[in-house]
Every structure is written in structure tokens, then in C-alpha cells.
Amino acid sequence: MWRDTLLMAGKDLRIEARSRVALSQVAPFGIVALVLFAFALGPDRAPMVKGAPGLFWVAMLFSSVLAIQRSVSVESTDGARDGLRLSGLDPAGQFLGKTLSVAAQLLVLELVLGVGVVLLYGASIQTFWLIAVSCLLGTIGLAAAGTLYGALSAGLRIKETLLPFLLLPVVAPVLLAGTRMWQAALSGGTPANGTPWFHLLIAFDAVYLALGVVVYGPIQETA
């Protein structure tokens, strides 16, 4: 399973390295979202700094939908999905591989958007490790849930409109937890401020990773 995970993640990341869709389209989209949020909140610094954690995560959620759609669409043509099913790769490995590849791309995106939040909104990070933990756990959750829903909607012709509708309410806890951890981090909170949210993110990740490992194979039959 782990070998298949790496194979799958390597394949998706190689496609990304050659096509640069995430880098040239998804990341700029995230930055555009940050700029638009700034326009919406006005030129004053105060509301922007106050809203920075939430805006960061909302931008991440929207960008992750794009990343997931890209991750699904690389296998939508030339019978690639049937080929994968025939390849004999462990479905659990396929799921973990796709999740890993999406998570890696989202982490890079978080770095870009994090720098954007600091530079554009003037937010100053006090407790760095809270940011790091929330990003890591939140990203794994987004990638796992997104990959599952991506697989579910893979065969649908109208997945572009249906996927965000299905996925975004489900990942709402990631937004809540991530925002709260960022707020603690920006206001120089102690580790205790992040503890319940830390547990929540771990639970979210565990649930969707476990679900994906178990049902990714059967889901493929629906497409």
C-alpha cells in the first residue's frame, strides 16, 4: 500500500511539475481572493488584521476545490481511471497517494497565501508553531475529504458545480478550527488556546483518511 501511495503521489506531482496548473492558476486565484477580501473590508488595516485568519482559510477552501478538481480531471480523459483500476494498485494506496499529492500542493499554496496575509494585511505572527500545526492538519483534512468527494463526483458530467456544493459544508470544521488556531497564533496565544481545535482537526483527518482507505475502492465502481 505505501509503495502504491508513493507511486500515485509521484505520478500526480510529476504531472503538476510538467503542467504547472496549480502553480500558475490555483495559487494566483488564491492571491486574487486575498486582494478581493481586502477590497471588501476597506483600506483600514484593523478589520483586515482582525479578519486575516478567516480570510486565509476561506481562500484556502476555495483554492482547494480547484486543486481537487484538477486532481480529478487528470484522470478523466483517455480512460485513465479504468487504466488505474486495471493497474492492480491498491485502492487505499491510490487514495493516500492522491491525498498526499493534493496536500503537498496545498501546503505550497498555504505558504504563498500565508506570506500574502502577512504582507498585504499586515498581520504579525506571534506563535509560529500554532500556524504550522493548523496548516499541516487542516491541509491533510482538506485533501482527504476533497479526494473522497472528488472520486464520488468523478463520473459526473456536472461535477464542476456539484463538487463545491458537496465539499465546502463538509470541510466547515477545518475552517472553524484553522481560523481559531490562527487567531490564537496572531494574538500571541498559548498552546492551551489551540488544544481543542488541535483535537478536532486530528479527529477530522482520522475520520476522512480512514473512510477513504476503506471505501475508495468501492467508490470507483460507481463512476
Partner: protein, 280 residues
Amino acid sequence: MTTKTIVQSPRVIWTTRIIGLLALVGTGLTVWLGLWVTPPDQTQGDLVRLVYIHPGVAWVALYLAFGLAAGCSLLYLWPRTRSLFWDRLAAASVEVGVVFNVCTLISGSIWGKPTWGVWWAWDARLTSTAVLLVLFLGYLALRRVPAEPEVRARRSAFAALFAVVDVPIVHFSVVWWKTLHQGATVLNANLSPTIHGSMAWTLLLGFVALTLAFVWMLLVRYRIGALEDYLGSGELDMALLERQSEGVVPPAPDLKAEALAPVDDAGAAPGPRAPAEVTR
């Protein structure tokens, strides 16, 4: 085919009618007791009358309907109990549950405006109820995507499963986020001090009536769903049958056939061909 017998069985139809009648009578009684018989509350005045409806509606939507849908989806995914029966029941349950969920939010809002001063408060229960509504609206949207019944059933069951495992996480996240909703009235330890005798009975009756209304709607919706599937599969058979009998000329001289014959295959002799077509 079991579905057909369920749908057509007179016993099922009559049971549905009786449940519907009981639900109607129960709801009527609840309205009468709630609006005219019971006294107004000391602190909340006439506003308290919403209490006879709101918790009952919420119970049906949040626990009964969505719980049933989750159970049915699991039963569908389990290979030994896989049957379109569970899929249709889950779909019917979600659809009725969504209606009750919207009613929960509306009745809660009507109560919230005079009490809290706002139509909507971002507290834990309201927020998780709203997220639940959106999750199951997604389920219904997924169901509307045209597909073979088995594919659709599988896909929907997975979607329901993914949504349901999210519910406790959403719940905890918004509980930690903020809480200002009032505590449980019925399920707390001191039932008698918080609610008056006739009020308690009306509340209970409301629960029963709304549950019966849910069961009635569920049965009717299931029946419609089954008939739709039946029609969907029957339409193809019907079309095939029509297509196959297109060339057939009835053996007895028929005014209609004679009128059609020259139009259908002009120049060809319809007479000799007819027997061959019939045997096919």
C-alpha cells in the same frame, strides 16, 4: 418483484391512509390545544406556543429523518442487505427531513426574533442545524444527477455516509465556537417545574403528531419513488414493445391500418408482408 407488491398492496395503502388520518387529527388537536386551551407562559407569554411545534419538528428532522437515512444508506452499502428498497427509503427520508429541517429553522427564527431580538443567532445548535441542511441538500442535488438506479443508489449512499460522519465533528466544532441556545426543556431532570401539566401533554401530542406526519410523508414519498423507478424501467419496455409492433398489420381488416398502409410503405404491397411481420 417486491417493490411492486409493496406499492400495490391494499394493506400498505390503507395503513398509509390511516397513519395520514391520525397525523391530521393529531396535528389538529395540537393546534387547538396549543392555541386555545393551554395558558400563556408567565415570562414568554403567547410566544411559548411555538414550543409545541418547534422541538417536535426538530426531533423529526434532525434525529428521525437523518438518522433513518444514515441507517438505510449503511444497509444499502452492506452487501448482504443491498436492495433498492433501502435506497428509496433513504431518499424519501432525506427529502422529508429537509422539509422538516427548514421548518425547524423557520419556527426557530420566528421565536428568536422577539426573544433574542434577531432572526438568526450564530449559536451552536442553529449553526449545526443549518450545516446539516446544506449537507443533505447536497445529497438531494447528487440524487438528481441522472444515472442508472444502482449507480445512483451507490453514489448517494456514499454521499450520505460521508455527510453523516461529519455531523458529530460539525457539532463539536460549533459548540466550541459559541453557545447561547437555551437548554433542553423536556430532557432535563426537573420536568415538572419548567412546564405546566396541560402544556406538557400538548408538547407530547405535538411530538406524536409530527412523527406520524413524518411517517405518512415517508410512506407516500417512498411510493412515489418506487413508481418513478417502475415507470423508468417500464418506459423502455413499453417503447421496445411499440417499436417491435410498428410493422405489424393486424390480421383482421382494420380501417386505421388501411389508411396508414399507403403512407407507411408506399409502393410496397402490404398484403403479403403482413403475416411475416406478425410471426416476428
